[in-house]
């Protein structure tokens, strides 16, 4: 279970998160919506431990682990995965090599045996197949020369291979056509189960048609201003964030 309590954070001297309260119980998928600049990405970076995002108050725990006190790689080992809004290119680093290194790093931290190249490749091929991707994806360098859509699908592929317990997807659906959107949704739905939770950051109801959230939250100026069921997303689709913003003011 992810428990965020009165979380406050500052970037470059500017307060961005102003007391976020949010609980995502194990087994649930929650959507996080809100206007541009409201702090959604900031929240995802603070939870995953990016440098330069200074926590000024509050707590965040996952399954009882104090996330804010451990380095990013240990948060990953604890089961946290972030699908980046802007996936990063790693020139010369093969996707398969990157994924195997990551998977084995996580397995090592958890005291699990590492996978050799053959067993890893089997697992990776199964994951690409599940996501209707070609194996070519594994041979290319991480995100280098990928189209926007390919980058997003690569994030979902990584998620499928690393099998996190908590996934944060930061606008993974932005800029995707409907087929890609379905693939991304299938990637999340395939992981859905009693031991998996997710926080899906999105602007669009159409994603939530495929990934039906248990709860929907609206972030405005660094605070959750409204929470509700799936119908809240549909309402926001027609009314926009104006009402929510007014409430927050």
């Amino acid at each position: 279970m992810l428990v965020i309590d009165d979380l406050r954070a500052r970037v470059e001297g500017k307060d961005i998160l102003n007391g976020v309260d949010l609980v995502v119980p194990t087994g649930e998928v929650h959507a996080l919506m809100g206007p541009n600049g409201s702090g959604k990405s900031t929240l995802s970076y603070v939870l995953s431990g990016r440098e330069g995002y200074e926590v000024t108050g509050g707590t965040a725990t996952f399954d009882g682990v104090d996330l804010l006190s451990i380095p990013p790689e240990e948060r990953a080992a604890a089961g946290l995965f972030l699908a980046f809004q802007y996936p990063v290119e790693l020139p010369g680093v093969g996707n398969a090599n990157f994924l195997r290194t990551a998977l084995n790093a996580v397995r090592r931290q958890r005291g699990e045996p590492e996978l050799d190249a053959v067993r890893f490749l089997k697992l990776a091929r199964a994951a690409t197949k599940r996501l209707s991707m070609s194996d070519e994806m594994l041979k290319r360098n991480v995100n280098v020369g990928f189209s926007g859509g390919e980058k997003k699908r690569n994030e979902v592929l990584q998620m499928g291979i690393l099998q996190p317990k908590l996934a944060i997807l930061d606008e993974t659906d932005s800029g995707l056509d409907i087929d890609a959107l379905k693939i991304v949704s299938e990637g999340v739905n395939a992981l859905r189960g009693p031991d998996f939770s997710a926080l899906v950051i999105t602007h669009y109801q159409r994603l939530l048609d495929y990934i039906v959230p248990d709860r929907v939250h609206v972030l405005v100026r660094g605070r959750i201003v409204r929470s509700g069921g799936p119908e809240l997303a549909r309402e926001l689709e027609t009314t926009g964030y104006a009402a929510a913003e007014a409430e927050a003011a």
Binding site: E51, E73, F84, L90, F98, T101, A102
Partner: protein, 497 residues
Amino acid sequence: MPAVPQTLDTVQSVTQSGYKWGFSTDIDMEIAPKGLSEDTIRLISARKEEPEWLLEWRLQAFAAWRQMAEPHWGKLHYAPIDYQDIHYYAAPKRSAGPHNLDEVDPALLATYEKLGIPLKERAILAGVQGTEAAEEERQQVAVDAVFDSVSVATTFRESLAKAGVIFCPISAAVREYPELVRSYLGSVVPQGDNFFAALNSAVFTDGSFVFVPKGVRCPMELSTYFRINARNSGQFERTLIIAEDGATVSYLEGCTAPQRDENQLHAAVVELVALEGAFIKYSTVQNWYPGDAEGRGGIYNFVTKRGECRGARSRISWTQVETGSAITWKYPSCILRGDGSVGEFYSVAVTTNRQQADTGTKMIHLGANTSSTIISKGISAGHSNNTYRGLVRVGPRARGARNHTECDSLLIGEHCGAHTVPYIESRNPTARLEHEATTSKIAEDQLFYCRQRGLSEEDAVGLIVNGFCKDVLKELPMEFAVEAQKLLALSLEGSVG
């Protein structure tokens, strides 16, 4: 092969901090008094039972050296070297032919063990009789180990001989193949070529000799391990590789040294000769002791490496991964004399702490339609300085000469320097020369991306750096590539954050 992955694993488990190869070995040594004079040279020559012509050759080199000044055009700063304060000859004492491992100096065996050379291989290296035949089937790499000044042993001489390939210590070649040595020694790097080459020519003690006759493809990788062990001793090895018409050979060298507070001088010379249609691939993983974080100690590496593509359509390819040494002064070069000959230089140079590297290549296009490729990857961290210095020269007869140069620098941290000094001289208007250069940093978002996926910061740096060097690493023979990758990651340990 011996220097394979086990090397690093073994060595890593031996010591957990600093330079992983920093052990020294307590071995019964014969050491010449310090200092350089004609007497020193006569002593070396006598110890090696050399013919008169070679002694004369050395003395000529010494005479030339005395007229020369140490070069200071490199971007390198170091305290003056006292050439009289160095031992020019240090050799492990060894009576010929121990019969089993128990008779071998245990300290010598321990050294091989720390270097990760498998036991059977060690038996061969230590000269235990009868081990070679048994191993012949499985091993594909022949090894020559040079310990301080002396080649300790060369493996697989017999099986190579069947293919007609000669691979032996150069001192043995002087005795057994004097005509070959005499006709090629100094034919690419003459005695008076430069200050350090002249010094080497005067005092060289050992090194490898390779001869691949016409039409022969050498059936296995050849490799040499260089290790400096003795205190205050210099190492001056000399390597000579000849590939006759249509011959092919791939040769690897690896180097380590103990951790010492004082600087040690290493001045090697490597000469390659490729005749018509021959191909020589020369790979180096250089990991001499680099000195500590404050810049104390470390090897001064002043090396002259040059290959001549003497015949038409011959090809020489240099690949180097340089992570060690306090000072590196090294420009593996190709003289492209034969028409249509090809020269290649692939380099990764890593500097951390206070290391200084001034390295690059020279491609001298003399023949028509000669082509060369230069790919240089410099990685600087800490307070280090890393300079690429390269010359592409096209002579008047080199119609249609082509060169492609790519120099990429990667900076880690705020206090290091990267410099690119390309010289281009073209005296033929038909030449096509391209030069590209980039400088970049490991971006914060790349590191964070990797760490979010579970990699430690150091593993992330290793991965990104290996990606940066991929175009060079893929040129290494497979077994070396794995080791080189780990070495890169290890040498940058602690330089981030």
